[in-house]
Amino acid sequence: MRVSRREFLKLGGAATSAALLPLPTFAQGAAPRVVVVGGGFAGASCARALRQADPRIAVTLVEANTTFTACPFSNAVIGGLRELSAQQFTYERVAADGIAVARGTATVVDAQARSVTLADGTRLPYDRLVLAPGIDIRWGALPGYDEAAAALMPHAWRAGEQTLLLRRQLEAMPDGGLVVISAPANPFRCPPGPYERASLIAHYLKTKKPKSKLIVLDAKDAFSKQRLFQAAWAELYPGLLEWVPLSKGGNVISVAAATGTLVTDFGRHKAAVANVIPPQKAGRIAEAAGVADRSGWCPIDPVTFESKLQAGIHVIGDAAIAGAMPKSAFAANSQAKTCAAAVVRLLAGGAPSAPKLINTCYSLLAPDYGISVAGVYQPSGGQLADVPGSGGVSPTDAPRATRAAEAVLAEAWFRTITGEVFG
């Protein structure tokens, strides 16, 4: 077969634009546009990291709220140890970096036309889209638990008004009341979160309402940092806090919010205060964009965090299926910076290099008692996997001085990460 010079050029041209210069935006002099949806630890970190890496990139951050309320340490608010204002941050510094903060809710993503549309009709075209929508509650997954029920049995799993509601209910409860926490099956936001919350509620009860009792009904038989939590509970809150695993009837199968009742396979519990941490999924826009799979979460490439379902869309933070990485604020921040570096490379027509990510999560079991889990991750077999031999939890036999030191480090971590993301 003979190929004419013109046809050869055409073929060559096609191959060049597809394989060598997928997006030569920089070369043409047009500013590449990146839209980031969601202004939490993942999204705000990513927007700032993009801007810092290359100020030529036009970055738009789409966020519905004017104030961000952080989940880490919100259990201390519930336990009366901290005020909600200490959890709240604005986007002023983010905007001061030259990032366009678009106030609104993204409702439509057109992956072919490469545009995002907000609820008010604003259309934002992009060269690359980063979705960091966090979680949504899977309303209806637990019979009886809908948005009206959450006003009586708060989930407090997205910090803000729900956090304060749960705190007020605990404050209003007479001494001798029964508090019940329902913990979901994996995966969910903040794996040690329900158990830190149980600890700090137990601390509140022990200090203020010592005749009360706390039961944790769990849909699992094992949980994050379990041995450390259980050893501390035996030491700090004996007789006050009871954990009921799946195999002992812990799985809550329905609730009746009006009567404060939680029903399990084995019986029913009538709570004075009930905190239902319900099943979750990726934030709504993930489904609308077609990046969530049947699990409700978003499969991603472990090098670039680009969706495995839609080209040009990256997913970071709690919404992503990040292999061994937990759904934590630290992980979200670490993923955001990795994703930003990959996006910059891709926009320049380069190939992203294999990343290495870290997670560190502290939990407070009492104001002066902290524990941690840490991990290092790298792409392996198409997933983010633990680096063999690394990571793990605080030692089980550590002295109280170490627990006190980790409680101090926990607070320092919060100041540092919120300083980087919002300061």
Binding site: K337, A374, A412
Partner: protein
């Protein structure tokens, strides 16, 4: 001519990649600032890494890994990095301010 266009295109790509690479932190380095403050405005018992002597970072990571330096989380994290990765991270932080 096609060859020349292709060669020019490849050249452009590798220049772009090189420019990006020079400014970019090596694998793992960006994650450190989750705990080690990047900003001087944050007060923390955890040291800033920017501007630290590279050899000091390498030595600290070796001691965290071997268990000869007291640690809370850094012993667990240091075991996740190879000597070459630590050297690259240390060299990068030494140039930061």
């Amino acid at each position: 001519m096609v060859c020349r266009i292709l060669a020019a295109a490849i050249g452009l790509v590798s220049i772009a990649a090189a420019v990006v690479a020079s400014a970019e932190p090596p694998a793992g380095a960006a994650a450190c600032s989750g705990c080690h403050p990047a900003s001087t405005r944050v007060t923390s018992p955890v040291p800033r890494l920017a501007g630290l002597d590279g050899a000091a970072i390498i030595r600290a990571m070796q001691e965290f890994r071997s268990g000869t330096r007291a640690a809370t989380v850094m012993d667990r994290i240091a075991k996740g990095f190879t000597e070459a990765e630590v050297q690259a991270i240390a060299a990068w932080y030494a140039t930061q301010r």
